[in-house]
Amino acid sequence: MTNSWTDIKNTDLVVIMGGNAAEAHPCGFKWVTEAKHHRGAKLIVVDPRFNRSASVSDYYAPIRPGSDIAFLMGVIRWCIENDKVQWDYVRNYTNVGYLVREDFGFQDGMFTGYDAEKRSYDQTSWEYELGEDGYVINDETLTHPRSVWQLLKKHVEIYTPEFVENVCGTPKDRFLKICEMIGETSSPTKTMTSMYALGWTQHSKGSQNIRGMAMLQLLLGNIGVPGGGMNALRGHSNIQGLTDVGLMSNLIPGYLAMPRETEPDFATYMSTRGNKPLRPNQMSYWQNYGKFMVSFMKALWGDKATAENGWGYDWLPKLDIVQYDAMRMFNMMKNGEVNIYFCQGFNPLLSFPNRGKMTEAFSKLKLLVVMDPLATETAAFWENHGIYNDVDTASIQTEVLELPTTCFAEDEGATVNSGRWLQWHWAGATPPGEARSDVWIMTQIYQRIRKLYETEGGKAPEPVLNLAWDYADPEEPTAAELAMELNGRALTTLYDATDPTKVVLEAGKQVSGFGQLRDDGSTMGACWIYAGCFTEDGNMMARRDNSDPSGMGVFQQWSFAWPANRRVLYNRASCDPDGKPWDPSRVLIEWNGEKWVGPDIPDIAVTAKPREVGPFIMNPEGTSRFFSRKLMRDGPFPTHMEPFESPMANPLNPEMRGNPVARVFPDDMANMATSAEFPLVATSYRLTEHFHYWTKHNYVNAVNQPEFFVEISEELAAEKGIKKGGMVRVWSKRGQVWAKAVVTKRIRPMICDGKPVHVVGIPIHWGFKGAARKGFGPNTLGPFVGDANIETPEFKAFLVNIEPASEGLA
């Protein structure tokens, strides 16, 4: 989230699209209710189902799964046509005036540079035109045909209300009403917030869905302002933290990048990360990359990291491809290329698509190690449970180790909420049986492997032996010790850069913020964005002062928010170019003539003068981007792409299937269906009574929602002869499930491309372990393809068929 849960109360309009907050994030949704009651805010819900959020909305519109980009580009088109643009914001804080290279173009739903064989674009032309001074050329009149503004207008021209109705199945009058409601928030004193979740990410173009809304929010001047923003309602309690700390194939903590093998040494790695400003005076904060990277390396390797050895650069693994994401690993596993796999608190047998392929993959492993508080389906993938897990146990040669771990109640440390608050929690229960903490388990594994290298030698022992492990008890580091490393400290006494007699920080002291981190090896800090979370003043994440003197929902003294305890990102943009808040009744920060002051921490240098430094300090431009240059694989603007399995052809290019640059493994392409064979659109969803595949282990939750079902419209039920509560078989090209049919008015057929489209809703919460009845999930059916940029599987739009089934089957 750019903002926070408690900030939602400041909004005038909530758009829930690509999520279902009332159902999946109920206690966060209360802030929508708060805004409705106290500010008179309105709630719009756009979703294939009239879901629980829709049931408390002011306005609802249906949309065909996988057509969100067309809808969002349609809203942008309408806003431009009707001059619903926050012009002072757009002109000053975005890249609308910048010129784009002459060779950039767009035709037939594709951008310049497409290579069908590589399923990739040559992105050379997706770039600004730079002047002789090295800065991007800006046309303040916005009239140049190659200005971002003119290109944007041209790009969205096709997304008329009629186009939207035809592609999305959203009735034109409903679409136009929503455009009008959204357009009102182009006023500097009205804001809209976007609340989204997996309904936008789980598509082969998920990142572009989100970009579409981010662009709309820029057009309306709603980024960086109270009650505005792009608010990803994240899933697990620390999915934000695990991402921040870089537990992803391509990441180093703090959103630094794992090196590629094309970067053979530290100097080469740093050479492309200079981040020189693209406009005069801009902060381009990533210019500090080297300070964060060197401090990280000092945290990782300790004294072994020196300037001479490139801070231990050789010991980091180097990637030969962009992503070793989970789906790639499962594909490699299925091909017999993986021997050992660890699943720590993760149940991939139920959470990744094409369950048949997942079972095959796990069956090829030599050793599977599962660490979990609960008995998971993944740990028991080799058990035969009839139709629920129909495997030949004896033929599966995989060894499986199942290790009992503690859960939150028995563990201490910080988790990061959607609004980037690092909140500390304490253990209050004795773990059951022999269950132990994950830190202890990881330590035991590490210490034993290390001992083997010490006694036996072996291949490349340096990274294992040189890992810094400087804890009071090397057998079990404490949460506080690890948190202090994440914060960082001075390794030698730090002196002021301009006055060498002035001590900034004594050796051994915790840094107070990332501004103190250095690139000469004198500081260490594992995750620069967390600097300030555990300082010489103590554990900031454990703070519990819930006062909010401004009444803005800022809560500056409650826990710690990254970065720098800032609660609303880009909050410089909440003020006009002169530093006055757009809305004097909602102030986060303001310029007092000398510096930025206010209830939130300014997202800019406190003395940076208005009209000199732009609000988007992480970008070398200082502005935010309608045209995203080369940063996304599938285009600098979002363009409508159909799901890989779709009931209609892409009207921009009937030959195009899915996202033309999404990675598809050969076997999986053969496993994709057409609508001739599978005419129904399936979409996965969650229920308020359950959390993923955990709560089915709980008696209370299992009683509340005991049994797997699928949800269909009355029309589809009538067409297929399916009774309310009757048993059905649902199958895709990859698998089949049996379920109770829930026949509702919540799903209605939509008309797309002149034909009715039926949607089958499939909740995710059942398996073959726990207290609830055995059941299935959508991952038995879903296609093995992910988003082109970040490889999140396309669970929200794929094709199935349905028929009545005999009652005795399941």
Binding site: T6, H25, P26, C27, G28, K30, R234, G235, H236, N238, I239, Q240, V245, L247, M248, M258, E261, L316, P317, K318, D320, A326, M327, R328, E337, I340, F342, Q344, G345, F346, F352, L367, E399, E402, C407, G413, T415, H425, W426, A429, T430, E434, V439, R448, E456, K459, A460, P463, L467, R544, N546, W558, F691, W694, H697, N698, N704, G770, A771, E791
Partner: protein, 199 residues
């Protein structure tokens, strides 16, 4: 705002049978104080309270756990009850149907209690010791790393990359667990490394 008299400390005080006079001193009328004095002991008054954060979604509601026994004092602590933390700015004491049943998860019958091994082709798990489990893991990972680590690529550049062992991390664990995990996994050269953010 660290209120001096929270709802819970009030309940604890009154429930523990504080004299009516002291309640009056706290500003309550005599009749109310007399009534409060007759209320039976608050069941959770003898419990140890621990602040925690709901482990499910990232609304991250504050919760208070009530345990018999004080873990921080080195005692065995049995979880008795979990409720929403009324002082928490986000949830203000409320919990959703998932959070309200948190205790059921902590005490689920299917909680794992012992390291277990399933041997090739077997149809059951058997209990093993932690030592046996760790020795098996260490041996297997060391052998795989020694056999399959790519130290240098075709151009002779050091790449220290291991693709034959992979790791999925848990996004309900803490940042501190995450950091310890990152260190161990990457020091081995593992590149197939992800968490639930990917799905």
């Amino acid at each position: 705002m660290n209120i001096d008299l929270s709802r819970r400390s009030f309940l604890r005080l009154s429930g523990a049978g504080v004299a009516a006079t002291s309640l009056a001193a706290m500003g309550f009328h005599e009749a109310e104080a007399a009534e409060a004095a007759h209320v039976r002991d608050f069941k959770l008054a003898t419990m140890t309270e621990t602040r925690n954060i709901c482990t499910y979604c990232s609304v991250a509601c504050g919760v208070i756990m009530y345990s018999k026994g004080d873990l921080a004092a080195g005692e065995k602590a049995e979880l008795i009850h979990i409720e929403g933390d009324a002082d928490h700015p986000t949830n203000k004491g409320t919990l959703c149907p998932k959070g309200a049943a948190l205790k059921d998860y902590v005490k689920a019958e299917t909680r794992l209690t012992h390291p277990r091994l399933r041997r090739p082709g077997s149809d059951r798990f058997e209990e093993i010791s932690w030592d046996e489990a760790f020795d098996k893991i260490a041996r297997a990972v060391k052998d795989d790393r020694d056999a399959n680590l790519i130290e240098k690529n075709a151009d002779g550049l050091t790449v220290n990359r291991l693709t034959t062992t992979g790791y999925l991390a848990a996004s309900a664990t803490t940042n501190e667990t995450a950091w310890a995990t990152w260190k161990v996994v990457r020091s081995l050269g593992i590149v197939g490394f992800d968490n639930q953010a990917r799905v």
